[in-house]
Subunit: 330 residues, 2 copies
């Protein structure tokens, strides 16, 4: 087995060694028919590509991993659809793993991706500082983070401009006359939560309003966490709540309900993400909307680019998030 | 490489050959520390288990595949959580793939699962008749279907009693005085859609009402399909709609809205699945509710049982679905 060379594979497949190399390096531009012949010859001869190429698939189907942090948040299935569409168009399959924002589970799935020698991984890291992608990097498996960034790892990322979006939402609330804006933030281990909090603070500063740490409560990016954080803030009589995630926005609405408060009559409310509202069944609400599907699509594209050109410098793609104003009359 | 025996692995790992065999056969009851030593020895020596055991993992992490048909339907992420929890408790990881009810995508992911030599696959098949699991069966990789059954393949399944649930919902509507009950069905290629339609017909027959094929419209288990099917049925002036899937229920509500009809004043409505209603933001509705998380958990348990005892006869687990009556006053 150890004596099989790239030349033997080329001969068996009836192609040039350069074509074998292009297939092994997952380069585009090799006709499917040739690619299949090469893959069949690799399998038949048991050819082992060298360690540089080891991370690349030598099977008929090339597989990308997508590791997300909460499959029950509709944001991530939408990301997944974007990743899948871009991957499928390039001849790759996508397998998905759900970490539940749990670092141990995340590490386990990073190890699975390494053991399976996936062609690359799109990752929404559970923690900007503690997530450790070393197991992939040591095997030369490229990683692109999506939605969130990793600090201290020079890898590609595809995110939205959370800071600008949160700043804009805060200034919008100030513009409607709000002065005591409660902020429901997310888990600070994520860059999304840190950036959105920073945007809220920038918005306040730009409007000449003081930052009051008491008016900030952090939830877990889930319904119940948003409800609890909102309930806490409502005791401080804010004139607005800005909720920095979709599921927590649902939690905030139930908290207003519990407190007998009506939006926008008694308190202003701005939420995040519009998937849940796309059913057409919920009351209108001003929301920071993210190009979720596009985030996934661009992340897969960035990963495919990285697979083709491993040596290019890391690239951060930042997409805009926009404030969609939908207010019922007061 | 071909000369490495199970005895060599046992010697290198400092365990008995029986322990190596237990690890290779994914049996429980081997201490983690021993398991890791065996897996390390297998990797180091490049030991190839025989063809019977080839489908079982020889890496540090054992992986189950979960192939679902629509990741954007919250029903399936909830299934996934059940599968994950049961798998993790047994030391397995789960990777997920989404077929979008597309047979070609599904076949591709079955091939990925085979190429990756996954320990087993939980599958919600896109089609009861056309889904082909041959690529897994030929490699001895066990399959358990969840939510839906496969016809013509003797594999384990974990489903709910869709027929009984649809029959009960139909009889409930008859009991409230409805006589022209429109039925919004799903894609008939799935056993869930066929069983729910059969239950609707049984309910009508039991109530002595005629079955009118005009009062049946089929959607695609998505919001828009439910809206279109409901819109069509509403032209026939039914006194009730029974919608056989969660997303199509949302579509039906928007169709009622479009037509200026109010439930329950103008028309009765019974829907399916309660995930979307768990947010607490939607009006109350009588729903057929499935033990979704439990479905996933039981499917993973059945798969783990199957991995341990490949020769046992196939088993169909059928969980009850219940009618949860939540009616606003007329």
């Amino acid at each position: 087995m150890q004596n099989v060379t790239i030349g033997d594979v080329a001969k068996a497949a009836g192609v040039s060694p350069a074509t074998v190399s292009r297939v092994l390096n997952a380069n585009q531009g090799v006709a499917d028919e040739l690619r299949q012949r090469v893959v069949a010859a690799v399998d038949q001869l048991g050819y082992q590509p060298n360690s540089q190429a080891r991370s690349l698939r030598t099977r008929a189907t090339s597989v990308l991993g997508l590791i997300i942090s909460d499959i029950t948040n509709p944001f991530f299935p939408e990301i997944a659809r974007g990743v899948e569409d871009a991957a499928h168009a390039a001849g790759f399959s996508v397998v998905l793993a759900n970490t539940d924002e749990d670092l141990a589970k995340e590490q386990r799935y990073l190890e699975v991706a390494a053991a399976e020698r996936m062609a690359g991984v799109v990752l929404a890291p559970a923690s900007s500082a503690e997530t450790d992608i070393g197991v992939l990097r040591s095997r030369g498996i490229p990683v692109v983070t999506v939605d969130r960034r990793l600090l201290g790892h020079p890898v590609d990322s595809v995110t939205v401009d959370n800071l600008a979006a949160a700043r804009e939402a805060t200034l919008y609330l100030v513009g409607t006359g709000c002065r005591r804006i409660g902020f429901v933030g997310g888990p600070l281990a994520t860059t999304t939560a840190a950036d959105r909090l920073a945007g809220y603070r920038e918005g306040l500063a730009e409007a000449g309003l003081p930052f009051d740490p008491d008016l900030v409560a952090h939830g877990d990016y889930r319904i119940d966490g948003g409800r609890t954080a909102s309930k806490h803030l409502l005791q401080l009589s804010p004139d607005a709540l800005f909720v920095s995630n979709n599921l927590m926005t649902i939690g905030a609405i139930t908290a207003l309900d519990d407190a007998g408060l009506r939006h926008p009559h008694d308190i202003a409310l701005v939420g995040f993400d519009d998937q849940t509202w796309q059913t057409g069944l919920l009351p209108p609400l001003t929301l920071v909307t993210q190009p979720t599907y596009e985030l996934g699509k661009r992340a897969a594209t960035a990963l495919l680019d990285r697979i083709r050109t491993p040596e290019a410098p890391p690239n951060d793609v930042v997409l805009p998030a926009t404030l969609a104003v939908h207010e019922p009359r007061r």
